[in-house]
């Protein structure tokens, strides 16, 4: 539990906090109560939250009447859950996470620390003295940092480009908040997944139908490049071979194969059919993993293929002459072609 006093406004900003749940419980409202005209504004705001997620991928913060902001959150969750569309769940969680992120950026330091400790179990410590040329407000342990930062591929997130001392990483507030976007998103997603839709009043059903219609179709995997399997780089071929032989593909080989195929535009179904031969095939888990890598699940991050250097490190490089000087398996064939074209000119 959060150990500092939270006002109604705080709960409105962060309605996923347990304290917000308690607040609602204390009001002892049923769904039937909420569907009465008195609560029209709550329903409207809930519908708007979902619509904003669909239309602009970002829920706005409406702080004029905090009570409406608090009550409309669980209602919006019910609407999304009842619509029963996987991609709407991801889309909505992401949009709510962006909303939270905006509030956190201007949040008072003590509340940030509390939210991190309680919701995300990260021990954030306030920093008072300056240890480098720029001012950092917070520090967290190296492992807490790396567990999250290794998801980002920009070099500035590498540990070596951070201010590090005595087991801690020093961060500015926007960096700290960026680090946990995904977790807030997963928190909301988890809430949605666990939720059981109660018996709904008639007025809800109409709204849900409306939202289902407005909800965009699941994103298509973009631009198929059409590379035939005999033109795949050696490491990808090796991964495919292992699968075909029914052998277990090590984790890294799996990651390589999936990211490669996703990036050349193979569909999730096509990729799934490859894995179905694997001895430990679990349709649900594999589907989740593939969709996650393709950026359909858990936010918009579409993973790129690991670099040749990384593959060498993991012992999954099967370099041949044709690999030439490429740095990423995705360049296989592409770069070599470019070079030979140039020569001809």
């Amino acid at each position: 539990m959060i150990s500092i006093d939270l006002g109604q406004e705080d709960l409105a900003k962060y309605p996923f906090l347990d304290e917000a749940g308690d607040y609602i419980k204390a009001r002892d409202l049923s769904l039937v109560d909420i569907s009465q005209p008195d609560f029209n504004r709550v329903i409207r705001r809930a519908r708007q939250r979902v619509l904003q997620a669909i239309r602009s991928r970002e829920v706005s913060g409406e702080m004029d009447t905090p009570e409406i902001e608090i009550l409309s959150f669980p209602i919006a969750l019910i609407l999304v859950k009842a619509a029963n569309l996987d991609h709407l769940i991801s889309r909505y969680s992401h949009a709510e996470a962006i909303r939270v992120e905006k509030f956190l950026e201007d949040e008072r330091e003590d509340l940030i620390v509390e939210i991190f400790r309680n919701i995300l179990k990260i021990n954030v410590i306030l920093v008072t003295s300056k240890i480098s040329f720029s001012k950092h407000n917070y520090k967290i342990s190296i492992i807490d940092y790396l567990r999250r930062a290794t998801r980002f591929h920009e070099l500035q997130w590498k540990l070596i480009n951070r201010t590090v001392d005595d087991g801690n990483v020093y961060l500015k507030s926007n960096e700290l908040i960026r680090l946990i976007r995904q977790e807030i998103e997963s928190k909301i997603q988890d809430k949605l997944k666990e939720m059981v839709v109660p018996q709904l009043p008639q007025s809800f059903i109409k709204t849900i139908q409306e939202l289902s219609i407005l909800s965009p179709p699941p994103p298509k995997l973009t631009g198929k490049v059409n590379i035939s399997p005999d033109k795949y780089p050696p490491c990808v071929k090796a991964a495919l071979d292992l699968l075909k032989k029914g052998e277990n593909l090590p984790h890294y080989g799996r990651f390589l194969l999936t990211t490669y195929l996703v990036n050349i535009g193979e569909s999730v179904d096509e990729i799934m059919s490859l894995y179905s031969r694997s001895p430990d095939f679990n349709e649900r888990i594999t589907k989740y993993q593939v969709e996650h890598i393709a950026g359909l699940k858990g936010g918009r991050v579409k993973y790129t293929c690991p670099s040749c250097r990384t593959l060498i490190t993991h012992g999954f490089c099967f370099k041949t002459k044709e690999c030439n000087k490429i740095r990423n398996p995705l360049q296989f064939g592409v770069k070599t072609n470019l070079k030979s074209n140039k020569k001809r000119k």
Binding site: I143, L159, I160, T163, D166, G167
Partner: protein
């Protein structure tokens, strides 16, 4: 290696273990570790587990293997095949090898043989055989006092980074001479025991000084010169900023009066962003520790067990209580000076316990046991009929 030599070595190893079995260290959480060993017939036995250190020692004494290994990770079921073991976590380990450093002495004592045409030469192994252009080249490298000192320096740099930047207590860093070419550093029970490969790989880049950006020093491609000096680090700064500053200061020790912020400002203004970036990358690589990335990132590694003999050298994998004063070619010697006759095929000069041996070429000669085993293990000699 001929049969007679391998039988001889096994006998000597057994005699050694008989007297020093207690000196073999048992890793923490021993029941959850995988063990493996290689026999003198070069057969690798893996996926063994032991209930306690007594069982482990008894098995080592009985088999007296060429090499004994333990997993750096702990598992639910360490004796099952790899993908069924159930990974629980692992020590945080680092490997430093003299043959990955470009010490100048290597051209004098390394040797290579082309597996295709048989050409052989002293020096660093070429990519292609100059005679037949083949690429199947076998290298024979020994480590001398000079390159082992270089390896020790890398280990000291690594300790410094682990202590200051990672906040790990010096007493919690187990440091060992590997028994042949370098050093192993291992940290049990750290925050990183359960870290995945991505995390470990980022740490590898950190300790080895890879991918350091000029932006971290406070300048970018579009940097204005105004106040630049204030953004640059001083020597006393923490982490990599301070490390880069100290490196550059060392490089410029002739102009002692210049502080590092001034040195960096001048450098940037003189060469511009692109060359500045190269200079900084160089400084970072030199100030970082050269380690084998695979040992740190691969969570299914097995490493030589501390207190056991290295089959190639007869030297011990030995704990360094004080790394600065550790001298591997004295402190890790296991065998004594009883004379024994061996036929040396071809060996560069080497020294053990301050005594120099070789170079030898096709000769039958009497050597102290430690030197004989050093050559026999590396297949540079065989026991006399």
């Amino acid at each position: 290696m001929d049969k007679k030599t391998s039988i001889f070595l096994k006998k000597k190893f057994k005699e050694y273990y008989f007297r020093h079995i207690e000196a073999i260290e048992s890793p923490s959480r021993i029941k959850e570790r995988e063990f493996g060993y290689m026999t003198f017939d070069r057969i690798m036995i893996r996926h063994i587990s032991f209930q306690n250190s007594g069982d482990m020692q008894a098995r080592i004494l009985k088999e007296s293997p060429n090499s004994v290994y333990y997993s750096t990770s702990f598992y639910e079921e360490p004796s099952l095949p790899m993908h069924e073991k159930g990974w629980k976590g692992g020590d945080f380990t680092f490997d430093i090898d003299a043959d990955t450093l470009s010490s100048p002495c290597r051209k004098d004592h390394d040797k290579w043989i082309c597996r295709i045409c048989g050409m052989q030469q002293v020096g660093i192994k070429p990519k292609k055989c100059p005679s037949c252009k083949g690429t199947r080249i076998h290298e024979i490298n020994i480590a001398c006092g000079i390159c082992l000192d270089d390896a020790k320096n890398e280990a000291i740099k690594l300790q410094d980074i682990l202590i200051n930047d990672f906040g790990i207590q010096k007493a919690n860093i187990d440091t060992f001479f590997s028994g042949s070419m370098g050093y192993h550093l291992s940290i049990a029970n750290s925050d990183f025991a359960e870290a995945n490969q991505a995390v470990r790989s980022d740490i590898v880049d950190y300790v080895s000084g890879q991918a350091f950006l000029p932006e971290s020093l406070g300048v970018s491609r579009k940097s204005s010169y105004e106040n630049m000096i204030d953004r640059f680090p001083s020597e006393s700064e923490k982490g990599w900023r301070g490390r880069i500053a100290r490196y550059l200061k060392d490089q410029q020790n002739r102009e002692k009066h210049m502080d590092t912020q001034m040195i960096l400002t001048e450098l940037f203004q003189k060469v511009g962003y692109r060359k500045f970036k190269l200079a900084i990358e160089e400084a970072a690589k030199k100030s970082g520790a050269t380690i084998d990335p695979a040992v740190t990132t691969d969570i299914h590694r097995i490493l030589r067990l501390p207190g056991t003999l290295h089959g190639k050298t007869g030297l011990l994998k030995k704990r360094c209580k004080n790394l600065e004063n550790f001298s591997p070619l004295d402190d890790a010697i296991a065998f004594g000076s009883d004379p024994i006759k061996v036929i040396v095929d071809d060996s560069p000069q080497f020294s053990l316990m301050e005594e120099q041996f070789g170079p030898f070429k096709s000769e039958s000669i009497e050597l102290p046991m430690m030197a004989a085993i050093y050559l026999l293990g590396q297949d540079m000699a065989k026991v006399d009929e």
